[in-house]
Amino acid sequence: MAPKKTGQTMVYASPPSILGTASVVGPREGQGPLAGWFDVVKPDRLLGQKSWEMAEVKMVEEAVDLALTKAGVSRSHLDFLLAGDLLNQIIAASFAARTVDRPYFGLYGACATIAEAMALGAALVDGGFATNVCAVSSSHHDTAERQYRFPTEFGAQRPPTAQWTATAAGAVVIGPPGVGKLCLTHATVGRVVDSGLKNPFDMGSAMAPAAVDTIAAHFRDTGRDPEAYDLVVTGDLAAVGQPLAADLLRKQGLNLDGRFVDSGMMIYDETQDAHAGGSGCGCSASVFAGYLAKNLAAGKFKRILLVATGALHSPTTYQQGESIPCVAHAVVVERVV
């Protein structure tokens, strides 16, 4: 039997299927270039709730329920929920898990959470510990602003390197092999890489070396060439970090030209005042659950490497002058037929 792990990469012996995906986004994301690919576009950011936080919880609940419906899996047949978000004590994930009412793993990998959840979920299925699991992550612009930056109505000027936290949630239901059109074959688990940058308004540059580290490890571990992938999609390096990562990879002999994209650059266009682009756990999650999964299923892409990237600082650490540790996790998603 082939080894189930090489280096940092897990190799699923019987690749678990992706049974269904769902994306729920806010109004700004619903006006962006990927508008048509999201399942649900909310007309306002409060979703009829009394706080931003409860609005985010609502998005997670909706994304999970819709993904389960599309997968044809009832809540009672869900073995584990793997969820995370950006908020202190990952409340959006945990409060939604209260509603979903199934065994729950709460995860934190900042904006890398969706890949972390998918990697672990597929391992649970491949390891025989579960039949169906759901991986979900979310972010909300206003919950993130009040936690990391300023009150929403405060008139602060943002530098051009700043990114816009997406109001979005993406859920992925993973189940037994051979059932769905898509499957998960590998996951490369990232190390925490700290390049020493301290500017929380330039997270793309801080995360780029972490993305490079994980991507390089993936190609080293699998022995594949970049040509094996139709797309290598980073999480949210955005317009500043993504070209930087491309250059750093080229220096390591990995040329991803023509197949290297970033979900932070895909979710908004230049007229949407998002500065460098999107960010947040919901950004890569909704872009995967919406645009990428649907195009994989439709046959536009055969195989992609999703590299979700997260900055692991907190307001406390940057106020205390610490640098920003970052992580990137990668999963390989391919079409079965």
């Binding site: 009040r146 009150p151 109505e153 405060f154 000027q157 051009p160 020493g196 940058l197 540059s205």
Partner: protein, 153 residues
Amino acid sequence: MKADKGSSESYERLVRKRGPKPPYLRNAVWAFVTGGAICAVGQLFLGWFLARGLPLREATAPASAVMIALGATLTGLGVYDELGKRAGMGAALPITGFANSIVSPAMEYRREGLVLGVGARLFTIAGPVIVYAVAAALVMTLLRLAVVGVRGG
């Protein structure tokens, strides 16, 4: 893995060299026009209070109060953050910006209640400004005392 000092510094240089520069000129023009316009409105109100017969010393207080109310209202209407985003210091420096810095946390943290929300976090942004303004005033007063003594006009 944490980068050593050398590689961390060389990466920081690379990032700084490649990163986009803020549109300094556009920001400055926005700040100049917006800040100027806010002050012109303030001047109009001051003139109005003066015309009503208040002496200059007393007319500045109600004129400031009107500007604070204006800043607070524009914050409540969701206009001031849009203005601040473009005009930067042009919107932050006038007293309307000070109102924005107090009203925006009041709105944001209202959901945590009147005591632990609004009460405790009202001065999240304005607090440091007040603390250091008072401290600076104290230092300047002491300096003045040392230089000109207790007399003076």
